[in-house]
Symmetry: C2
Subunit: 478 residues, 2 copies
């Protein structure tokens, strides 16, 4: 039988030429993104309407494709890397991270098993140990102890995996075969992330299983007395408390839950303690901010997102457990087609058993590139720059009596509102977004509408924060 016509695969030489062009496009994008509107001026359907109804029958020139990055994409995305992007938590990347992602894509390794990519697995093990060093995490989280780290796509997935670990432990493993006991309850604060409820739903516990523990009015952090009371009353009612999620740096205000007290309660009551430090974990690279991580040595699991404040592109959540054997026992399923000598030797880590999906990319490469390019001191400088700028902004806000700061701001997020009230604050928010030059998002604190300004982009310099502040002042409604 003769071979049919070869498909038009891109040759290495073509890849070289077009690859240089895409690299240049990215470099140009970063050089000019500050001139674009942070949030594009598009209506629902505008972008879809620019695209043909179906794929082309025959391949197109790469130049045509590349041109559409300028015609369709750049004017149609929210620019997360813009120096005036202060929304949610910035999901920042950096040159070395993008290059790590490029090498990862080019290698095209799928690291579900050690055997399907030994370096993919081992570089990840080492990078998570490096990060544990960098953050001063406890020894038992290291691969040299009983635990270990793994890259998840997001803190949401880390929370789900932690929830499964908690359910596994609470059931003595019976959950694997028999299904989940709906009497299990999960605790977090008013400002615990929405992914905690989503994880409880996915795990079959139901949203009702999530107990929202009241926060301290001043700090917006979880009240341990209320946690203790909730656990006690749930037990009395026949529930089985299984997990508490403490947050270091809540999404709303970056409040830091009192982890040492919470850990004490979790230990007494046999609950799995998961710490969600998605955003603020990166701060622990600075010794002077490590006080925010008091109590982390008691956690059963901990996660933070290098893709938020540590210059590594999404997706890169770093997740550690104190007992890796327990995690693997919870998640492993071994079909015949995945059996292999390395797995059976027991001498290797198969990361498929540390996560929900089976397949995985070589995401440790971008982390490796970032940690080596910046070094410890470079990463500290980045965090310190964000914290210093936030402090400076807070000073300006305090000096203008039209504004009030609504919560402590130990990191690079400042939450503020107009004393004039919600309507005025919402109007200010609308004006800022409409300006196109800055993007902030909102939350509610003590019921009030509050603006959140989070600093983190590598392109954000002092002048951008100063310009944002000038715009905020000018945009206050009469």
């Amino acid at each position: 039988m003769s071979e049919p016509g070869r498909p038009p695969h891109m040759t290495p030489d073509e890849f070289r030429r077009y690859g240089h062009a895409v690299v240049d496009w990215v470099a140009d994008y970063w050089s000019t993104v500050a001139d674009q509107r942070v949030v594009p001026d598009v209506r629902p359907g505008d972008i879809a309407a620019m695209l043909p109804a179906g794929p082309p029958d025959r391949g197109e020139e790469f130049g045509t494709v590349l041109a559409d990055l300028d015609r369709v994409v750049a004017p149609g995305v929210t620019h997360w890397q813009h120096p005036g992007y202060f929304g949610y938590f910035p999901a920042n990347t950096s040159g070395p991270s993008v290059l790590g992602e490029l090498a990862c894509a080019g290698l095209g390794v799928q690291g579900m098993l050690w055997a399907t990519g030994p370096a993919c697995t081992e570089v990840e093990i080492v990078m998570l140990d490096w990060l544990a060093d960098l953050l001063g995490l406890p020894d038992r989280f290291r691969s040299t102890g009983t635990g270990g780290g793994v890259i998840q796509d997001s803190a949401s997935s880390a929370t789900l995996v932690a929830t499964l670990g908690a359910v596994h432990r609470a059931s003595g493993g019976a959950w694997r075969a028999a299904g989940v006991d709906r009497r299990y309850t999960v605790y977090t604060s008013t400002h615990g992330h929405s992914s905690i409820e989503k994880a409880a739903r996915i795990a079959g516990l139901g949203g009702n299983a999530v107990r929202i523990v009241e926060v301290d009015d001043e700090t917006q952090a979880m009240r341990p007395d209320r946690l203790r009371a909730a656990i006690k009353s749930d037990r009395a009612a026949g529930a089985v408390p299984a997990m508490v999620v403490a947050t270091i740096g809540t999404t709303s205000t970056t409040a830091v839950d009192p982890v040492p007290e919470i850990a004490g309660i979790a230990r007494e009551d046999g609950l799995w303690l998961h710490i969600d430090a998605a955003y603020a974990g990166a701060a622990a690279v600075c010794p002077e901010l490590r006080w925010t991580h008091a109590g982390v040595e008691y956690a059963d699991s901990y996660c933070f997102d290098p893709h938020k404040w540590l210059l590594t592109g999404f997706d890169c959540d770093a997740f550690w457990v104190a007992d890796r054997a327990e995690l693997v026992d919870a998640l492993t399923v071994l079909p015949e087609f995945l059996r292999n000598a390395a797995t059976e030797s027991g001498a290797v880590v198969d990361y498929r058993d540390w996560q929900v999906p089976l397949g995985r990319r070589f995401r440790a490469l971008k982390l490796w590139f970032v940690l080596r390019w910046y070094g410890v001191e470079g990463l500290r400088a980045h965090i310190r720059s964000g914290v210093a700028l936030a402090q400076e902004l807070a000073g300006w806000l305090r000096a203008d009596d039209r504004f009030e700061i609504v919560a402590p701001h130990p990191f690079s997020l400042v939450c503020f509102r107009l004393r004039a009230g919600d309507a005025a604050t919402e109007e200010l928010h609308r004006r800022l977004t409409a300006s196109g030059s800055v993007y902030v998002t909102h939350t509610r604190v003590r019921g009030a509408y509050v603006l959140r300004l989070a600093i983190g982009s590598p392109l954000t310099e002092r002048r951008h924060v100063a310009a944002a502040w000038a715009l905020i002042r000018e945009s206050v409604p009469d």
Copy 2:
């Protein structure tokens, strides 16, 4: 307060220079990967031992980092893009896919909401419609119908989301708050993927909820009579059948379950029908192979992996549902900090409600690049090339009476064994792996040890398959 020292961010010019170097590295890698051992000759711990114990204090030169791709990484990975890689299902990428991933990384957009990246969302909607066209999927899966498509990281995650949809429907939505009813049961064949059991475990149903339906001895496809019997007996015993997963192209042998019959049973009994076409879905781009997709019009959800056989790098699973409103209802959680005008207008898709994680990358870019570079005809040529090579290999196997082909092979996977038995086949497997020039994996069919040779890499040409066959023949133990 003065700003602390700026961290050593990579300048656009540095990025340009180093970016060209990484592009060249990838081009060189593809040009030379055929000369490397497919599976590296490393022992557990070898790679980790090559890395320092901790991150450097000060940043390193990029050249040092890049050099470690050659020193540490390339000799330490299994080369999934090697022309002699025939293991599992190949997870193949291509030039345009890698360039789409590069553009995605450079933009650094996080598309959890339409509002956080309108083009990220809308290009994805359109690409999934394009793919639906390409595969001839039913209208109700399109965004113009009641359904729609979304990119998941993997078919495992798609199966989990489908399981959650099934549980949601079976419970009339009560599951969201109250937790899962452990009486629900899930059906798949002996060769259904391990992710079905994993999803059932994660969703709190427990592995016992998964009913393994016997396959036809000849075709290795699910027996509808056994499915019907299992459902009937479960109902009689008080279970609540909730979902059946039919497979188009099982992992073991690429068996095609009889979807029309299974769909009839699912409809009669009110079960959610999910179709897992992770590998073989790509075949439907060829009209002459679309018979494998009979009955897909009855599915509640369907997925396939462009990252397997459609030249798009991992991670890219395409997942469709027939009723998007139901999916969103199952998965949505809306905290204050994610509220926005576009979402509240009801006029947009927020993909965070179609998946487990909250955040997401602009993965539609790589799909867009691939579909445009190859065009429909180019993609068909790729699939046809794989199928033709597999047919040719099967002919060679049939002509040599030491071998037997153990299952139908409509796609690009051929499953075979030595008539001499398991021990001889396992020894043949060991010799092939040790050769370093080809990589095949194994499964069990009717209890026997079987080799799987899956063709798919864009670098694999007829001569590579012929060389693999020559090696196989030479490696047969006496």
